[in-house]
């Protein structure tokens, strides 16, 4: 694309090319990076060869687009041309920059107007800015195009071989440097390219005129400020700065121009997106070599926003943390771990503890504890402790003296260089009270259950009351309790029991029966529980200070009472407690006492019934004893009587019989037959009466005879009885059959009497029977032995069987069959005393059968 133009004018020469090359080399060496190197190159070439616009085109990071990486313009008007180039530069595979990029050969365009828009994209812009000629030089390293320098001049310039040579020398300098660095680093292509293009994207290199306007700025501005170089050229940094920083910046520029190189402080620049970014700038003035006057400013600005932000964040977080301490809703303070002095305290602590801040800060951590706890606290703080310690629950004292339960966590820290601990306190009093209440309630329930058992196990009323009072005190947790039964009419305590804790040991002997006029009377009258604080009790009109006993009565401290109610709702008495171990009586306490009162009421009522039953039993026993004693006395009397009867009644009979007999014997010849007959009748009557008396005595003896039971052979006994009968009346012919081996258990004497009577009867009532027969046998049925004495004698009428066993009742005339009528009565008494029974069957003329059993028990 070489071109020649006749109208070319001599180009202005711009200084010494050799020093320029050295300068470039030095600057490239200094910067070691493509961006600054290109900036130096374009600026240097423009100055040396008097170009009006110098651009360095580089490949965008996308690897496709070519953009203006560094620019220099002679005056601000030309900035617009560079801006147009930015648009033009994006045209792929078109334009002169592209062709140079591709050919890697410099081009000299002496007359730009000769080119059409196809080849020169900024054809119109160049015309507008009066740019006539241009030179383009590639920067080639390792066979690759790294950049293309585009140099424009307003003056028409013909091809200048020297200028091209210098430019190529300068670009090769840059290329060589980069090529070496590439080899040195063995960077792969992509990384290298990226680094070359945007390697120092955090630095913006810029050149300013004396007024601070951008003459050239490196492409990294796009990344940092959002503006491309084309946006900035002709503007001043002040326009972008935060208003607060602007004046400082201008001052600094003036100083720079005055000759003081210096590092600029940090300024905030407004990015294209409106956000500010902190930049730190190093700058110096470029001076005219001849005049020494500052002509331009060169600046390198580094994005320090993150540092600033970090520091800012640090500051913010410090503030936040301070706020976290100061505004924390939990009480917090910091104390010196050696002196234990409180060094800092937050508002929540001041509020909750009630000490003004200055007072708080004069205290040590010992000062806010109860005296009793200080030893333990010292023990804790003097020990080696972990950095974070959960110290558990401690008691703290508020300014008003109230004690709070605080859960403490602390962490080691330093405060103004002193070893310290930061402490957080949480009031767990409410929670702990809740827990304690719950524990207490379950303990109360357990105690109530235990008390219920104990109360019901009590043997007597006073014991019940004692257990009720003890239980009331234990269950409620009070120092005083009294359980009382009262007279429903007068309210006077009929029985009561008191339970006092050690605190009231001095009152243990207090014993003054309440007269029914105190406040407890209300409980009985209203039949409902009452609960009062001491102030309420004392203010109550019914509270009379115990009247006459006020001096000796234990002092009350709060009062809770529940009535003892019977099943039909009548008031039996009351249970009262006073002086709760902790705090005032609660609704829970009241409910508990009411339950206890119910248990107690049932027990008391039961006790009443039990006592009644016991009293009745005792009364019965007493009556039985009395009756028994009476009976014994009567018995003794009866015995004395029967003894008298046997003795005294018989005595005259003996005389009657004796003298009658003497008369018959001594004077037989003085009596005729009739006289003798009368005397015989007198004697007979006397003897009959004697027999009656004997039998009567025998009957009473059976009753009094002490049984001596043993095994008895009834068969043998029966044989003896029969033998005696045969001896008495040897003339009788009676067939007797006795079953062998009849055994029984009983008193032998009395059993003999039974057989004597039964067999004797059979003997007697068969006396008129031909072929008399008597049988004695036993029949066993269901384990019971029934003994039978059977005869075929006179028998009896079953209609009168009921009379058989009554004493002195006879079914036969005495002249027919002699007897007193006592024998069967005796038999019945004996059998009954043995626990058996006796019964009879019979028919007149057909004989009789008498059965008896002996039973198991002997009565």
């Amino acid at each position: 694309m070489s071109a020649s133009d006749d109208t070319s004018t001599p180009h202005p020469t711009g200084g010494d090319p050799l020093s320029f090359l050295l300068d470039i080399a030095q600057r490239v060496e200094d910067h070691q990076q493509l961006g600054p190197a290109l900036s130096a190159l374009v600026e240097g070439l423009a100055g040396l060869q008097a170009w009006d616009v110098a651009e360095a085109w580089v490949l965008e990071s996308d690897g496709q687009t070519i953009v203006a990486g560094a620019c220099w313009v002679r005056d601000a008007d030309l900035a617009a041309f560079v801006s147009d180039g930015a648009v033009a530069g994006y045209q792929p595979d078109r334009g002169i920059v592209r062709s140079v990029w591709a050919s890697q050969q410099p081009a000299w365009l002496a007359d730009l107007s000769a080119l059409d828009e196809r080849d020169f994209l900024r054809h119109r812009a160049a015309e507008r800015h009066g740019l006539r000629s241009a030179a383009l030089v590639p920067v080639v390293a390792g066979g690759r195009t790294l950049a293309v320098l585009a140099l424009f001049s307003r003056a028409r310039r013909d091809r200048d071989a020297d200028a091209v040579r210098v430019a190529r020398a300068a670009t090769s300098q840059v290329a060589w440097l980069l090529d070496r660095r590439i080899q040195d680093r063995h960077l792969d292509e992509t990384t290298e390219r990226f680094e070359l293009v945007s390697g120092n994207a955090r630095d913006i290199v810029s050149v300013h005129d004396r007024d601070g306007r951008y003459l050239w700025v490196s492409g990294s501005c796009r990344e940092i400020l959002g503006y491309g170089p084309e946006d900035l050229l002709g503007r001043t940094p002040a326009e972008l700065m935060h208003p607060d920083d602007r004046d400082r910046a201008l001052d600094v520029i003036r100083e720079l121009l005055a000759g003081n190189d210096r590092r600029l402080p940090r300024y905030r620049y407004r990015r294209k997106d409106g956000n500010y970014v902190w930049l730190e700038t190093a700058a110096r003035a470029v001076r005219d070599r001849s005049t020494g006057e500052a002509t331009r400013l060169v600046a390198s600005s580094r994005d320090v926003d993150e540092h600033v932000r970090d520091r800012q964040a640090l500051e913010d977080s410090r503030r936040r943390f301070l706020r976290l301490f100061a505004d924390n809703p939990l009480p917090m303070w910091v104390y010196d771990t050696e002196t234990l002095a409180i060094l800092e305290v937050n508002g929540a602590a001041v509020a909750q503890y009630g000490y003004p801040r200055d007072v708080f800060l004069r205290k040590t951590i010992l000062d806010i504890r109860p005296a009793d706890d200080r030893e333990a606290l010292l023990g804790l703080v003097r020990r080696e402790r972990p950095a974070l310690q959960h110290a558990g629950v401690w008691r703290h004292v508020r300014a008003d003296g109230a004690v709070m339960e605080m859960e403490i966590d602390s962490h080691a820290t330093t405060f103004d260089g002193r070893p310290a601990r930061l402490l957080v306190a949480r009031d767990v009093g409410a929670r702990r009270r809740l827990e304690r209440d719950r524990e207490r309630r379950s303990a109360q329930l357990a105690a109530l259950a235990g008390a219920s058992l104990a109360i019901h196990a009590a043997g007597e009323l006073d014991e019940v009351l004692q257990r009720v009072t003890d239980a009331a005190r234990e269950v409620i947790g009070a120092h005083q309790a009294i359980a009382s039964l009262s007279d429903s009419a007068t309210g006077v305590h009929t029985r009561y029991r008191v339970s006092l804790s050690e605190r009231y040991a001095a009152y243990r002997d207090y014993d003054s029966r309440p007269d029914g006029t105190g406040i407890y009377r209300l409980v009985a009258e209203q039949g409902r529980p009452m609960r009062m604080t001491q102030a309420e009790v004392a203010a109550h009109p019914a509270y009379r200070g115990f009247g006459a006993d006020a001096g000796s009565h234990p002092p009350l401290r709060g009062w809770l009472a529940a009535p003892l109610l019977g099943t039909s709702g009548e008031v039996l008495g009351a249970v009262q407690v006073s002086d709760r171990e902790e705090g005032d009586f609660s609704a829970d306490d009241e409910a508990m006492l009411v339950q206890l009162a119910q248990v107690a009421s049932v027990a008391i009522e039961n006790m009443g019934l039990l006592t009644q039953v016991r009293d009745q039993a005792r009364e019965l026993e007493r009556r039985v004893e009395a009756r028994t004693a009476e009976l014994r006395a009567v018995n003794r009397e009866l015995e004395g009587f029967t003894y008298s009867v046997s003795h005294d009644l018989r005595t005259p009979l003996r005389a009657i019989d004796g003298f009658g007999s003497a008369l018959l014997e001594d004077y037989p010849d003085r009596l005729d037959d009739r006289g003798r007959h009368y005397l015989t009748r007198v004697r007979g009557a006397a003897q009959q009466m004697g027999a009656l008396i004997d039998d009567m005595l025998a009957l009473s003896r059976v009753g009094r005879h002490a049984l001596q039971p043993r095994d008895v052979d009834l068969s043998a006994l029966a044989r003896e009885v029969v033998g005696q009968l045969r001896e008495t009346e040897p003339g009788r012919e009676v067939e007797v059959e006795i079953q062998h081996g009849l055994a029984g258990r009983g008193d032998p004497t009395l059993l003999r009497l039974v057989l004597q009577n039964l067999i004797g009867n059979a003997w007697k009532f068969t006396s008129k029977t031909a072929g008399a027969r008597i049988e004695v046998r036993g029949d066993e049925a269901a384990g019971d032995m029934t003994y039978t004495v059977l005869d075929n004698g006179a028998g009896f009428d079953m209609r009168y069987v009921g009379k058989l066993f009554r004493p002195f009742q006879r079914l036969h005339g005495a002249d027919e069959y002699p007897g007193t009528g006592v024998g069967l009565a005796n038999v019945q008494r004996i059998v009954q005393r043995h626990g058996g029974r006796v019964w009879a069957e019979g028919e007149i003329g057909e004989g009789a059968a008498f059965h008896f059993t002996l039973g198991e028990g002997i009565v």
């Binding site: 003894y643 046997s646 003795h647 005595t651 005389a655 004796g658």
Partner: protein
Amino acid sequence: MSRGDGSKVILLVEDNPDDVELTLRAFHKANLANDVRVARDGEEALDYLFARGPHQGRDPDSDPHLVLLDLKLPKVDGLEVLRQLRGDERTRGLPVVVLTSSQEERDVVESYRLGANSYVRKPVDFHEFTEATNQLGLYWLVLNVAPGGR
């Protein structure tokens, strides 16, 4: 009550005059010739036995060889008489036959316990009486039989 030479004295302790008379008649009918002294109550019996009170200084020959003792007596009863009689050296071996009008076991047992030698039903049933004295081996020792005896 004759008091013949060498006649053996029997002390009858009995308060009932009917029984006394019938008893004496029985002795008489049985031709027994003993000197029978009668004491009307227990106290008199003891006075006689121990020769005191009204009987102080009585003839030692009138010591009884046998005592017929009723139990039911005024003042001191028969069992008490028996107890004192057995408790004294002088009378410990004296044969005592208890007269009984009843079959009271209590009396029988108590009498034997206190040292009665035998029982005879009142008024003296002679069959029983001779039986009792025979058992005691006393019949011919203590009883005087009148020459005209049966």
